[in-house]
């Protein structure tokens, strides 16, 4: 782990590629140059003061060292600044592009729905199958755009969450129903267990549903051949705790620290067989944390994974937004 980290620190080429700058502009390289300059300067000043025993020489050499350090420091700051600026522009671009995509996606989805619901008589089974597939792709595209927009908002620090009253138990029941087809197709048994009583929370309904949907569909997708996904809803003091447990492929130990990073997808035999952007967990973690809870996981490769998240139980049931 430590060795890997140190090697990464010294991999200037990789860093330069990641930041989109040249090798000599990478912060690590500049820091090392600065370190070398400092050591050389201390040594130089020591030698100079020993040989000449004159304060002018010491002052001149110290001033030139300060000037040099100032120049290098300035380089580092401007590099970091330009990277931050580029990052901001990228986020803004994603945000604008996603918004623009929403209109054509709405058009496509509504046209498909109109065709399916009002004009489908006379169509052959094959034609209907194709229409359903296109409609399904439209749904997927809609979800992807929402994910990209949420990611951009998280990066900008501008993700605003609605405050809806949610009965988590009902929401999980509904989601399990909608995931049944995927589960059956993958030979996965979905089991739900609840503590007694209500599970009322105040949070963003659409987004908490996205969190649950991502975790449940991930568990199903990464089961492999067949298995079981358990969804356990419990009360822990002032919190509701949801656990999604699967006996799937698990996450290799070496990759566990990177889970939840943007665009990161674990390397496993199923990776290339399933869709995914690597944004689901990143978004889920941010939504849960911004809603006052936390998200974590335990996983053993080839044994399975357990994903947990908590959310505060609402004391007062109050409807703030009705959309």
């Amino acid at each position: 782990m430590l060795k890997q980290r140190i090697l990464n620190e010294f991999n200037f080429k990789k860093q330069a590629e990641e930041l989109g700058v040249s090798v000599w502009q990478t912060p690590s390289f500049l820091f090392i140059v600065m370190g070398v300059v400092i050591v050389a300067a201390i040594f130089g000043v020591y030698v100079a003061s020993k040989h000449y025993n004159s304060p002018e020489i010491v002052i001149i050499s110290e001033s030139s060292v300060v000037a040099l350090l100032f120049t290098i420091g300035n380089f580092i700051i401007s590099t970091v600044e330009s990277v931050a600026k580029a990052n901001k522009m990228k986020t803004e671009f994603v945000s604008i592009a996603s918004h623009q995509l929403k209109t054509p996606i709405s058009e496509m989805r509504w046209e498909m729905e109109l065709l399916k619901s009002k004009y489908s008589s006379g169509l052959s089974e094959k034609q209907l199958e194709i229409i359903n597939e296109v409609a399904h792709s439209g749904e997927k595209m809609g979800r992807l755009v929402n994910d990209l927009l949420d990611t951009a908002r998280i990066d900008q620090g501008s993700l605003a969450l609605a405050k809806d009253n949610i009965n988590l138990r009902d929401m999980i029941d509904e989601l399990v129903q909608s995931q049944k087809a995927l589960a059956n197709a993958s030979n996965v048994e979905l089991v739900v267990s609840f503590d007694e009583g209500d599970f009322n929370i105040v949070a963003d309904k659409r987004r908490i549903s996205v969190v649950l949907d991502n975790l449940i569909s991930n568990a199903i997708k990464y089961i492999g051949k067949s298995g079981m996904v358990e969804i356990i809803l419990e009360r822990k003091d002032d919190l509701v705790q949801v656990c999604i447990r699967d006996n799937g492929v698990g996450i290799p130990r070496s990759e566990q620290a990177r889970i939840g990073e943007k665009f990161f997808r674990s390397n496993n035999p199923i990776k290339n067989k399933t869709d995914g952007t690597g944004l689901g967990l990143y978004i889920a973690k941010n939504i849960v944390e911004q809603s006052g809870g936390s998200l974590w996981f335990k996983s053993i490769e080839n044994v399975g994974s357990e994903f947990y998240f908590t959310l505060p139980i609402s004391k007062k049931v109050k409807k703030l937004l009705h959309c």
Partner: protein, 143 residues
């Protein structure tokens, strides 16, 4: 099988037509495709549809045709949805017409602004099916 399903649909459409025959909906939407799809779908659900492609025309029509409900986009030419909403709600003749904002702007500040200005509800186009839009309209009209 298909024929049977078609028949059921036809029957359910005619029932829908009966109960919503008299209800007039004004759609203010500048996207021609969305305007067309909404009009076709809601017409087949039994509503009488009038439409405007910009805010100013929409506002005028809200006074002349006296709709039972308005579906209103936010980003519109000439007058935006917020302005239309404000003016409809400040006119004693039109202030009781329920307004559904139907837009792709989905930030919480937009939703809050719309509800503060008196919109009955706020739907994000990309997140709702036509069926859900229609059932929301029916729910509001039945109140």
């Amino acid at each position: 099988m298909l024929k049977g399903a078609g028949l059921v649909r036809a029957v359910s459409n005619s029932i829908a037509k009966k109960s919503y025959m008299a209800k007039k909906i004004l759609i203010v939407e500048d996207d021609a495709v969305l305007q067309k799809v909404l009009t076709e779908y809601l017409t087949s659900e039994g509503f009488e549809i009038s439409s405007a492609l910009d805010g100013e025309t929409g506002l005028q029509m809200s006074k002349t045709i006296n709709p039972d409900l308005i579906l209103l986009d936010i980003i519109l030419p000439k007058k935006d949805g917020y302005e239309v909403l404000k003016e409809v709600k400040s006119d004693s003749k039109t202030k009781d017409i329920p307004i559904i904002l139907l837009t792709n702007l989905d930030s919480i500040s937009d939703v809050e602004k719309a509800l503060e200005l008196g919109a009955t509800t706020y739907l994000v186009k990309a997140d709702y099916k036509l069926e859900e839009v229609a059932s929301k309209i029916k729910e509001i009209l039945e109140k």
